[in-house]
């Protein structure tokens, strides 16, 4: 690597030099992540971003790629990104998954420009090199031009070293040495299991077109926020106000009542993963606490009439799971949505929201489930993303170097359980301190 920045020894850029030179020495990553604060350059410096793409979204890391239901049959393919690397996830004829980079081994063009489909092979549109959906080069046009010793086996597409799944969730790593996905998820599997097993037979499907939201801010702002129980009372004031239009507070209003004294808890799960458990705040069940969706009254009446034994279960399946589960670095499970953080630039991020359906229920349950999943993306998330953008703007004050994550320190809130999980109050910024510890390991090239 030619860039000195790749070793974390970057000199300050012109934009970050101030007269007097009083800014913090940043030669090591540990200079930028202290116990209670992180340096602004982790959100603003393009060199840091480039290195994150190599190490946090590559290197030794597992990265979330897609859900298996997005590849429903043999020879299905799906175009995704691993960091910024264009990647084709494919199933071969036996249904096994492969991650092949969408980058012709000849001159670099993407070989596939469609978002999803079914294909046994891909022909590069530029010069016609053809590859199997498992990556091997089938042939190059007029091979005599390459002489007698052209060895096709040397020119397959580069592949993701390992693709592993956990109950439908597909992860990839460039490392041969990274631990298995269940080991790396650790105690987070308990929460994923809860989320999956809400569905009858654990059947969860991604079959809706996704929201591809974007904001002009660093990708970590989304990760900071997903585990943050401090912001809802403020960032979501418009939603809380709207929800009380009809005189009764619904869903999330419980964040407004001194949330640290309430029944919700936040958990640091290790390896940068965390979860907020909002379930205890839903006294009486999830359904009755949900802001009303289009069709709610008719739907509830019909479900109670037609499925009296499992009516409460079916109604609850039409609303969210009431946890925010964050899997480092790029998977957020919020309500019934699978969110993927896709870094585009140091100050630009795509947040893709995949709505989910479940098996084993009458169709109308999934229809109302869609209507529920339209609520927060319209009236909640945009206000958060506006605040992310204003953080990014605020961080342009070069002399004010630090972003705080000290809430919860010195409070005695935290208790550690035997599996290493730390339980704490819901507004604790422990989730940030925990994932930044993992971030440092990734940036230093250490294994999970």
């Amino acid at each position: 690597m030619t860039k000195h920045s790749m070793r974390g020894e970057k000199k300050m850029t012109i934009g970050e030099t101030v007269s007097g030179g009083a800014l913090t020495e940043l030669s090591r990553w540990s200079n930028r992540v202290l116990e209670d604060r992180v340096h602004r350059t982790l959100y603003t410096d393009p060199a840091v971003f480039e290195e994150e793409i190599v190490k946090v979204f590559g290197g030794q890391s597992w990265v979330y790629l897609a859900h298996e239901s997005q590849l429903p049959k043999p020879h299905s393919y799906l175009s995704v990104r691993m960091g910024q690397r264009p990647l084709l996830l494919t199933r071969d004829r036996n249904g096994a998954l492969h991650g092949i980079f969408n980058r012709c081994s000849h001159r670099g063009a993407t070989i596939c420009r469609d978002e999803a489909g079914v294909a046994k092979s891909f022909q590069c549109p530029y010069h016609g090199w053809t590859f199997r959906n498992t990556g091997e080069l089938v042939g190059a046009p007029w091979p005599e031009g390459y002489g007698m010793d052209f060895d096709k086996s040397q020119f397959g597409l580069r592949k993701v070293n390992r693709i592993e799944t956990y109950r439908g969730f597909i992860f990839g790593t460039l490392s041969e040495d990274a631990p298995s996905v269940p080991d790396w998820l650790g105690p987070a599997t308990t929460w994923l299991d809860y989320w999956i097993d809400r569905a009858p037979n654990g059947e969860v499907f991604v079959r809706s077109a996704a929201y591809r939201m974007g904001y002009r801010g660093n990708w970590k702002l989304a990760y900071d926020n997903a585990g943050d129980g401090y912001h809802p009372s403020f960032s979501h004031r418009s939603l809380l106000e709207m929800a009380s239009r009809m005189g009764e507070s619904k869903d999330m209003s419980y964040f407004g009542r001194t949330p640290d004294d309430g029944p919700m808890r936040s958990y640091s799960l290790g390896n940068g993963h965390s979860v907020i458990d909002q379930r205890p705040a839903h006294e009486g069940g999830f359904w009755i606490n949900q802001r009303p969706q289009p069709g709610r009254e008719r739907f509830e009446e019909e479900i109670r009439a037609n499925y009296p034994e499992r009516a409460d279960e079916l109604l609850d399946l039409a609303v969210g799971a009431q946890i925010n589960l964050s899997i480092f670095p790029n998977l957020l499970i919020i309500g019934n949505q699978i969110q993927v953080i896709e870094p585009l630039a140091v100050n630009r991020t795509q947040l893709t929201w995949h709505a989910t359906s479940v098996g084993g229920v009458p169709d109308e349950v999934n229809t109302v489930r869609m209507r529920t999943q339209e609520d927060f993306p319209a009236f909640g998330e945009p206000d958060d993303q506006a605040n992310f953008e204003e953080v990014q703007r605020g961080l342009d004050v070069v002399e004010e170097e630090w972003v705080l994550m000290n809430r919860g320190l010195g409070t005695g809130w935290q208790t550690t359980t035997e599996d290493g999980v730390i339980s704490t109050a819901v507004t604790d910024e422990l989730h940030m301190r925990s994932y930044y510890a993992e971030w440092i390991k990734r940036m230093d090239g250490a294994q999970a």
């Binding site: 077109a209 939201m213 009254e297 709505a355 229809t367 319209a378 009236f379």
Partner: protein
Amino acid sequence: MSTSPIPAQYADTSSFSYHVDRALYDRLDHYRDRFGEDWPTPEPATHTQATAFLVREARLIDEGRFNDWLDLFTDDCLYWVPVTSGGGEPRTEVSHAFDDRRRLTDRVYWLRTGLAYSQIPASRTVRIVGSTEILEDASGDTLVRSNFIINEFRAGVTKTYSGWYGHVLTRDGDGWKIRLKQVNLLDSEQYHENLTIVF
């Protein structure tokens, strides 16, 4: 195409949503198919009247007169911005907006709370509506198909949205009310920042 009777306690559709039922989804299928057909040339008077209605609606939105805009809609209305342009399958897909009267009232209320940070500062918009086509539907409603270009300026950024509207208008005295407004963005399923304007 009729909706089944609504019990009296659910009659206020700004508070209750009993009427969003299978028949409503079936109507959306019907309208989607009709919007996709080639239509005959309309009567000039109807064409002029419908175009004027759309222009007035556009002006209310661009001037931020959202309560007046809300008054243009019927009690059983739907303001719909599907993620799959053209409509897709709303029974199994999410939409940017699938607003019955209650959620549309919520949306206007939300915009007017003064607390929606995604709209502080508020968006300025200006739009052109054109290429209007009219079809008298067998149901008695009037279908209007039009193209739009919307420019938005907010927080230092100017953006352009384009696409086509499908309006289903129903007679209301001498005028019309909107029973369905379907907004089909050219790039609805692609990357969007702060998609909080009214289309």
